[in-house]
Amino acid sequence: MKGAVVFGTGFGCFTHVRALRAAGFEVIAVVGRDPDKTARRARDFGVPRALTSTVDALALPGVDAITVATPPATHPAIVHAALDAGKHVLCEKPFALEAASAREMTEHAESSGLVHLLGTEFRFDTGQALLARAVRDGLIGEPRLAMFFLHVPVLADPAAQLPVWWTRASEGGGWLHAHGSQVVDQIRVTLGEIESVFVSLLQITDRGVTADDGFAAHLRLRSGAACVMQSTPADRGPMLIETRILGSAGTAWIEGLSDAVYVADTDGSRRLAVPDELRTAPAAAPPPATLETTYEQMIGHGLDLGAYTRLAEHFHARITGSDAPPGPAPATFADGVAGTAVLEAMCRSAADHRTEAV
């Protein structure tokens, strides 16, 4: 059995540990900064060892791979150390704070010959994967415009508890990096590369921090299509979730966050059948008692556990050299470079109030 160490006591435990196990890894240790919290989380999630040292963790016997679910500013140190130690790496998004840093990690990983994957698990979300396939298969003709809206109330309260790094724009915190990075990946997978961006980063709820809690973005794609992404976790109104792509021959959309994908064209409207290879394990949140803060409740919803398990299966298959699971290909560090370049352009655009090329 392949052994893995998980870096990060939040999402790392809520999702990585559980997905890795479901994919056939043995989780040997969890690594965190705070010894008490790390020990508590290791106990809660049944992980044998709790450590606070990267060096010690990488030196444990039986470690083939690591996964990184720590704040983005800490990714490079952990990733480079792991690659130096010959470990395969699965790293969370946002991958890096700067494109240069993303490139360094990628070059290191590629030259090492080790497996490197990025934690954009929503590629495997059944609805998103089915929509991407429908669009790429030409079911709506040539894509022309697309919209990605998600408004939720989870951080509307000014007293919502957030980790300090997440409140700092300079440390890769905020909603654009957290959620926007997933949408950017979804757009790249579904519609192709992004050419230029115009972005507004917003602080909707007054909480005296530098990170955004909402954004609006207008994207021009290399294909000539355009899209809008707008999202905030600080909307007290009804949840608003719209993913819709309009093409020359029809419209395709996902119903909410479900697996239900529809296409409407001159023949009418129909729900697409879900092929077996796009199905994933059901959603499952960790025990509520382990979700201690607003932030942890937000990231520990477990809706992505099935998708993350599929990602972990890819990780496992690449490490063992076995056949890849069916369905979409996983994102690698190369996608991390592309995604970081987009996010960097987005932040520049928001600061300069003008369109920026990616």
């Binding site: 909707i204 109104g237 309009l246």
Partner: protein, 357 residues
């Protein structure tokens, strides 16, 4: 009684003439290009005089109501105000901001009442949402969403007037629909200072005008938002009008307006001063093309009748500042054209564009 000439045999008859009458104005003449159609429409709507030139009827009216293709607005307004007539003019107001400015200055110089046909300022839901946001009920407005997707023009053979399919003649969905939304954004959130936009022809056909737009805007107050509309979406209809502020969110579903904040969600009743008459569809036998169907529901009749009443009151001497909602004048037409110009330029050049002040 104020005597009005209506110019335009389409929306002019279906909505202007009926709304003006409902507001107590006397519609005495109809002006159109095609003599037969103009005569037939004048008879159908019981308008005593049909003419093919405005100057033939100007001396018998006090005011002119213009509902012709946008490129023809400027000469018609200039002719009207030169004769000292009050003017109500449809949107999109002009070819561009520069022409709008010329028309505005002429009307101001003539000292006549001038109003723009953005009737949805008076639609109860929109008016109430604007009032709520401006009252500070959701704190500082920060993010807005104005979406409308309908299938009306999804059929490649959907019939529209020739000018409407032609971008060079001021046609297209941006001028038709976004004119209203830009007005709504300006009244609710303040001046738009910057846009990034794309115009789309979702359905392939022989049009040069767009059937969809995406506009990301930023306001002088630091709010941002998206206005997006597609007239040819084969998917489910989509309507959303929502403003998220620092302390809460307000949204409208038709005339139902709700606010959600830390104390919960509540519906705000439409106050008596914002109510309008019920929808009143135009005669069904005149509704033939997809374009006609745009106005077939009659939902704009109540708001238009209210606008016409404001027009009549202003002609009678009432100060515009005493109206709430305040009607849009040609000054608003200039400001809206500046935003539309910026949207078109952004779409053409592929970059964000600052709106000319």
């Amino acid at each position: 009684m104020t005597r009005v000439a209506v110019v335009g045999t389409g929306f002019g008859c279906l909505t202007h003439a009926r709304a003006l009458r409902a507001a107590g104005l006397d519609v005495v003449a109809l002006v159109g290009r095609d003599p037969d159609k103009t005569a037939a429409r004048a008879e159908r709507f019981s308008i005593p005089v049909a003419a093919t030139a405005l100057d033939a009827v100007l001396d018998r009216v006090d005011a002119v109501s213009i509902a012709t293709p946008p490129q023809t607005h400027a000469p018609l307004v200039l002719e009207s105000v030169a004769a000292g007539k009050h003017v109500l003019c449809e949107k999109p107001f002009a070819r561009d901001r520069s022409e709008a400015r010329t028309v505005f200055e002429a009307a101001e110089g003539a000292g006549v009442v001038h109003m723009l046909g953005t009737e949805f300022r008076f639609a109860p839901g929109q008016a109430l949402l604007t009032r709520i946001v401006r009252s500070g009920a959701i704190g500082e407005p920060r993010l807005a969403l104005l979406l409308l997707h309908i299938p009306l023009l999804a059929d490649p053979n959907a019939e529209v007037p020739g000018w409407w399919a032609d971008a060079d003649q001021g046609g297209g969905w941006l001028g038709a629909q976004a004119s209203h939304v830009v007005d709504q954004v300006r009244t609710t959130l303040g001046d738009v200072v910057r846009v990034s936009a794309t115009l789309h022809r979702v359905v392939d056909r022989g049009w040069t005008a767009e059937d969809a737009y995406l506009v990301h805007f930023e306001t002088a107050g630091g709010a941002a938002g998206v206005m997006q509309s597609v007239a040819s979406d084969r998917g489910p209809m989509l309507f959303a009008t929502r403003v998220i502020g620092s302390t809460g969110t307000a949204w409208a579903e038709g005339d139902r307006v709700q606010v959600a904040d830390a104390s919960g969600t509540r519906e705000i009743d439409v106050p008596a001063d914002l109510t309008v008459g019920p929808p009143d569809p135009p005669p069904a036998e005149l509704m033939h093309t997809a374009y006609d169907l745009l106005h077939s529901t009659g939902i704009d009749f109540g708001p238009y009748a209210r606008l016409a009443g404001v027009f009549a009151d202003a002609i009678a001497g009432r100060n515009l500042d005493t109206f709430d909602p305040r009607p849009a004048t040609f000054a608003d037409g200039v400001a809206s054209m500046a935003v539309l110009d910026a949207i078109r330029r952004s779409a053409r050049e592929g970059t964000s564009v600052e709106v000319e002040a």
